[in-house]
C-alpha cells in the first residue's frame, strides 16, 4: 500500500539505516515500536495528530491575546473619558495616566486583526483540523510528507515568535491596519508603527505564508493520493472536501500576497517606488515617483478575499459533518454541498475588487465585480438550505458541538445577508469603512468561523485526548457567546448605517455620533462578559485534557466516519492493524431501521438505496 510505503520511506530518511523486513511488513504497527523521546513525541513530532494539537494550542494562546486586545480597545471606545490606572501598569507609556494613547489604539486594532485572521482562524483552525482529520478520515497512516508537515508547524511557530516580539519593540508593533496599505506601511517616517514593527510584521507574515503553503501542499496530496481502499472522492466526508478546497485556495492565493509583500519590502528598504508616488512626509518631499498605492490593494485583496473562504470553508465542512451526526440524518444534498464549495472556491478568485469600489475603480469594471460577488449568494444559500433541511425533523442530540453548529448557521445567515448589501458598489459608497462593514465581517467570518472551530473542538476533543470536555460548561459557553456576539455586533449595523466610520480613536467630540455613546458603552460591557466566557472555555479545554471524563468507547458520538474506528488513543500510524476498507459514503444515518452504519461495513444486497 502506498501509505505504508511513504511512511516507511520517511523512516529510512529519518534514521539513516535500512531495517530489513520493515518496509514490506504491512503489519501496520506504524511507529508504535519506536523508542520515542519527549522531544520526538511532543516537540519535533511528525505525527499529524500531535501537530494538530500543536497548532490548536498555539492558536488558543493567540486567540486569548488577540481577543484581549479587543477588550483593551473597546475600553477606549466605550469609555473614552474614563481612566483605568491598571492599564498603565500593563501597557506602560502606551497608556499614560490610564488612558490608551492613539498610537497604542491603532497598534491594538492592527494586531487584533492580524492575529485573529491569520494566526487563529487560518493556522489555528485549518492547521488544527486539516492535520487531525485528513489522515484519519481518508484512511491514511499520516500525511504525504510528515516531515514537511512538521516544518509547516515550526514555520508557523517562528512566525508567531517574530510577531510576538514585535509587540515588545520600543516603537511598538505595526499599526497601519491588518491590511497594511502603503504608503503608511511603506514609509518608516509615516508613523511610529511603520518603523521596525512593520518590518517584523512583514517578515513574520512571509514566514507564515511559507508555513501555510507547506501545510496546504500536504493536505492536497494526502487527499488525492492516500485515500484507503474504497474511499472514492464521492465517499469522502464533507469535512475533507472543505479542507481540500481550503488548501487549493491557500496554495493559489498566498503566493500572490507574498509577491505583494516582497515589493513592499523593497519600497521600505530598497528605495524602489512600486507603491509610492509624489509624497510629502513631515514637510519633506520624497524622491519616489511613479508608484501606485492601489497596486498593493490589488495584490493584497487577491489573497485577502480568498482568505475569508480559507477561514470559513473548514468551519462549513465541520458543521456539515457535526449536524448530520447530531441530527442522526444523512446530510441533505451531498453533491450539492460539494458543488457549492467548488463554486465558492472559483468565485473567491474573481471578486477581490469589491473591497476596492471606492478606490477610483472604473464603475463599469465595478459592475462585473458586483455581479460576481452577488453570485456567491447562490452557493452560500444552497449550503444554508441544506444545513437546515439536514436538521429538519432530525432526532437532534443537543451537545455543545451541535449547538455551536446550529449557531454557526444562524450567524452565517445574518452575517451573509449584509454581504449582499455591501457587494453592491452603489450602497458601498455610503457603507464603505463604516461600522456596518465591521458588523458584517465579524459576524459572517469571525463569529461563524469561531463557532465552527468551537463545534470542531467539542466534537473531536475525545479523539484528540481520549476524554470529554465538560458539557455544562460547554452549554454556558455557547449561550453566552451566541447572545453576546449578537449583542456586540448587531448594534454596529445601525452605527454604520448612520455613517459612523471605523478606525477612529475617539468619537466623543463628533456631534453626529454622540447619540451612540451609550450604545458603545453597552457593546464594550458585553465584550468583557463574552471575553470572560471564552476564558471559561479555555479552562474547560485544559482541565479536560487532564481531568475530563474518560472515553469508554472508541465511537462516542455514534458516527460513521473512519476516525472513530481507531483506538481511543491511536498511535502514530492510526490503526493497529490493516487500514480499514471503505464500502459506503459517510452519511448512512437512520437507514433501514439502523441508527447508523459505519463506512467500513460492506453494503448488503437487500439494503435500500439512498
Amino acid at each position: 500500500m502506498s501509505n505504508d510505503a511513504t511512511l516507511h520511506n520517511q523512516d529510512l530518511a529519518h534514521h539513516g539505516h535500512v531495517e530489513h523486513g520493515h518496509g514490506n511488513g504491512h503489519d501496520g504497527h506504524g511507529h508504535d515500536h519506536h523508542h520515542e523521546t519527549f522531544i520526538s513525541k511532543y516537540v519535533f513530532s511528525m505525527d499529524h495528530k500531535m501537530i494538530a494539537k500543536q497548532f490548536l494550542i498555539t492558536g488558543i494562546i493567540w486567540a486569548i491575546i488577540g481577543a484581549f486586545f479587543s477588550v483593551l480597545f473597546r475600553l477606549q471606545l466605550g469609555y473614552p473619558e474614563a481612566t483605568f490606572p491598571w492599564l498603565e501598569s500593563i501597557l506602560g507609556h502606551w497608556a499614560e495616566g490610564g488612558r490608551i494613547t492613539a498610537e497604542a489604539y491603532y497598534a491594538l486594532v492592527t494586531m487584533h486583526g492580524t492575529i485573529l485572521v491569520f494566526f487563529v482562524l487560518t493556522a489555528g483552525l485549518s492547521g488544527t483540523f486539516s492535520n487531525l482529520l485528513i489522515p484519519l478520515q481518508v484512511g491514511a497512516r499520516d500525511m504525504a510528507s510528515p516531515f514537511m508537515n512538521m516544518l509547516s508547524y515550526w514555520f508557523f511557530f517562528l512566525a508567531s515568535v517574530i510577531m510576538m516580539s514585535s509587540l515588545f519593540v520600543q516603537t511598538g508593533p505595526a499599526s497601519g491596519g491588518w491590511t497594511s496599505y502603503p504608503p503608511l506601511s511603506a514609509l518608516g517616517d509615516a508613523s511610529i508603527g511603520s518603523k521596525i514593527g512593520m518590518d517584523l510584521w512583514l517578515v513574520s507574515m512571509a514566514i507564515f505564508v511559507v508555513s501555510s503553503l507547506l501545510g496546504s501542499l500536504n493536505y492536497i496530496s494526502t487527499i488525492l493520493n492516500m485515500r484507503t481502499k474504497g474511499m472514492s472522492m464521492t465517499k469522502m466526508p464533507l469535512t475533507i472536501w472543505a479542507f481540500f478546497f481550503t488548501a487549493v485556495l491557500g496554495v493559489l492565493s498566498f503566493p500572490v500576497l507574498l509577491s505583494g509583500f516582497v515589493l513592499l519590502l523593497f519600497d521600505r528598504h530598497g528605495g524602489t517606488s512600486f507603491y509610492l508616488s509624489e509624497l510629502f512626509v513631515q514637510g519633506k518631499v520624497l524622491p519616489n515617483e511613479g508608484g501606485s498605492a492601489i497596486l498593493y490593494q490589488h495584490l493584497f485583496w487577491f489573497l485577502g478575499h480568498p482568505e475569508v473562504y480559507i477561514i470559513i470553508l473548514p468551519a462549513m465542512g465541520m458543521v456539515s459533518e457535526i449536524l448530520a451526526v447530531s441530527s442522526r440524518k444523512p446530510i441533505f444534498g451531498y453533491l450539492a454541498m460539494v458543488g457549492s464549495i467548488f463554486a465558492i472556491t472559483v468565485l473567491a478568485f474573481l471578486v477581490w475588487a469589491h473591497h476596492m469600489f471606492v478606490t477610483g475603480l472604473n464603475p463599469f469594471l465595478g459592475a462585473f465585480f458586483v455581479l460576481l460577488t452577488l453570485l456567491i449568494a447562490v452557493p452560500s444559500a444552497i449550503k444554508v438550505f441544506n444545513w437546515i433541511t439536514t436538521i429538519w425533523r432530525g432526532n437532534i442530540r443537543f451537545t455543545p458541538a451541535s449547538l455551536f453548529s446550529i449557531g454557526f448557521v444562524s450567524t452565517f445567515i445574518s452575517g451573509g445577508l449584509t454581504g449582499i448589501w455591501l457587494g453592491n458598489s452603489a450602497i458601498d459608497i455610503h457603507l464603505h469603512d463604516t461600522y456596518f462593514v465591521i458588523a458584517h465581517f465579524h459576524i459572517v467570518m469571525g463569529v461563524s468561523a469561531f463557532f465552527g472551530m468551537f463545534a470542531g473542538i467539542y466534537h473531536w476533543f475525545p479523539k484528540m485526548y481520549g476524554r470529554y470536555m465538560n458539557q455544562t460548561l460547554g452549554f454556558i459557553h455557547f449561550w453566552i457567546t451566541l447572545v453576546g456576539a449578537y449583542l456586540i455586533f448587531w448594534p454596529m449595523h445601525y452605527e454604520g448605517m448612520a455613517g459612523m466610520p471605523r478606525r477612529y480613536f475617539d468619537y466623543s467630540n463628533w456631534q453626529s455620533f454622540n447619540m451612540f455613546g451609550g450604545l458603545n458603552q453597552f457593546i464594550s460591557f458585553v465584550v468583557i462578559i463574552v471575553f470572560a466566557t471564552q476564558l471559561l472555555f479555555v479552562f474547560n479545554f485544559f482541565y479536560s485534557i487532564f481531568k475530563g471524563r474518560k472515553l469508554t468507547t472508541p465511537n462516542p458520538w455514534d458516527a460513521t466516519t473512519l476516525e472513530w474506528t481507531t483506538p481511543i488513543h491511536p498511535g502514530h500510524g492510526n490503526w493497529p492493524g490493516e487500514i480499514p476498507e471503505v464500502h459506503r459514503w459517510a452519511y448512512d444515518y437512520s437507514k433501514d431501521g439502523k441508527d447508523f452504519i459505519p463506512q467500513t461495513v460492506p453494503v448488503s444486497p437487500d439494503e435500500s438505496k439512498h
Binding site: S2, T6, N9, L12, G16, H17, V18, A144, S145, M148, L213, S216, L217, N218, I220, S221, T222, L224, N225, M226, R227, T228, K229, M231, S232, M233, T234, V251, L252, S253, F254, P255, V256, L257, L258, S259, G260, V262, L263, F266, G270, G271, T272, S273, F274, E289, G290, G291, S292, L295, H298, L299, F302
Partner: protein, 187 residues
C-alpha cells in the same frame, strides 16, 4: 476525477506535492508579472533593452535542463559515476546561471538603471532576483542528492528524489523562458 481510486493512482505523493508547489510558485510570478502589467499601463513607464548577458544565461539554463535529463537516465541505468558527474555539472550550470544574472544586474546598474531609480528597472531586479533564488534552491537540492550518492551504508534505488528534482529544474528553466519572453514583449 470523482471516481478516482487510491489503488489505481500510481503517482507518488511527493511528485504530486511538487506539482502543486509549482502551481503555487507560478501564482507568485503571476502576481509579480500582473503587477508589472498594471504598472506599465500607467504614466511614466521607462522602457529599456534587457542586458545581453540574459541571453547567455538562457543558454546556460537550457543546457542544464539537458544535463539533468541525462542524469536522471543514468540514475535509472544505475551508472552512478555518470550520474554523479551529470548532477554536479547541472549544479555548476545553475550557479553559472545565477552569476550571469548578477552580471546582468551589474550591467543595468552601469547603464544608469540602479534598483531604486525607475520602477521598470526595479521590477527586473525583483522578479529576476526572485527567480534566481528559486534556481539556487534547486542547486541546494542537487547538492543534497550529490551527497546522498556518495553514502556507502545506504544505497538508494528509488528514482523519486531525482525525478522530483528534475521536474523542478525543468520548471525553473521554463519559468525563466517565460520571464524572458514576457520582459522582451512587455517592455
Amino acid at each position: 476525477m470523482l471516481t478516482m481510486n487510491a489503488q489505481k493512482n500510481k503517482i507518488h505523493p511527493h511528485k504530486y506535492s511538487m506539482w502543486i508547489a509549482m502551481a503555487s510558485i507560478t501564482m507568485m510570478f503571476i502576481g509579480f508579472t500582473s503587477a508589472y502589467v498594471v504598472k506599465r499601463a500607467q504614466a511614466n513607464w521607462f522602457s529599456f533593452e534587457l542586458p545581453a548577458v540574459f541571453y547567455v544565461s538562457t543558454g546556460v539554463i537550457l543546457l542544464s535542463s539537458l544535463t539533468i535529463y541525462l542524469a536522471q537516465r543514468q540514475f535509472k541505468a544505475r551508472n552512478m559515476s555518470a550520474y554523479k558527474q551529470l548532477i554536479s555539472v547541472t549544479a555548476l550550470l545553475g550557479i553559472a546561471f545565477a552569476v550571469c544574472q548578477i552580471i546582468g544586474f551589474a550591467d543595468m546598474k552601469d547603464h544608469g538603471l540602479p534598483l531604486n531609480k525607475t520602477v521598470s528597472a526595479s521590477f527586473i531586479y525583483v522578479i529576476v532576483g526572485a527567480h534566481v533564488l528559486h534556481v539556487i534552491g534547486g542547486v541546494v537540492v542537487l547538492l543534497v542528492l550529490f551527497a546522498r550518492a556518495f553514502r556507502t551504508r545506504v544505497r538508494t534505488y528509488s528514482a523519486v528524489p531525482i525525478e522530483v528534482a528534475s521536474t523542478y529544474w525543468h520548471f525553473v528553466d521554463g519559468l525563466w523562458i517565460y520571464l524572458l519572453i514576457f520582459f522582451s514583449l512587455a517592455r
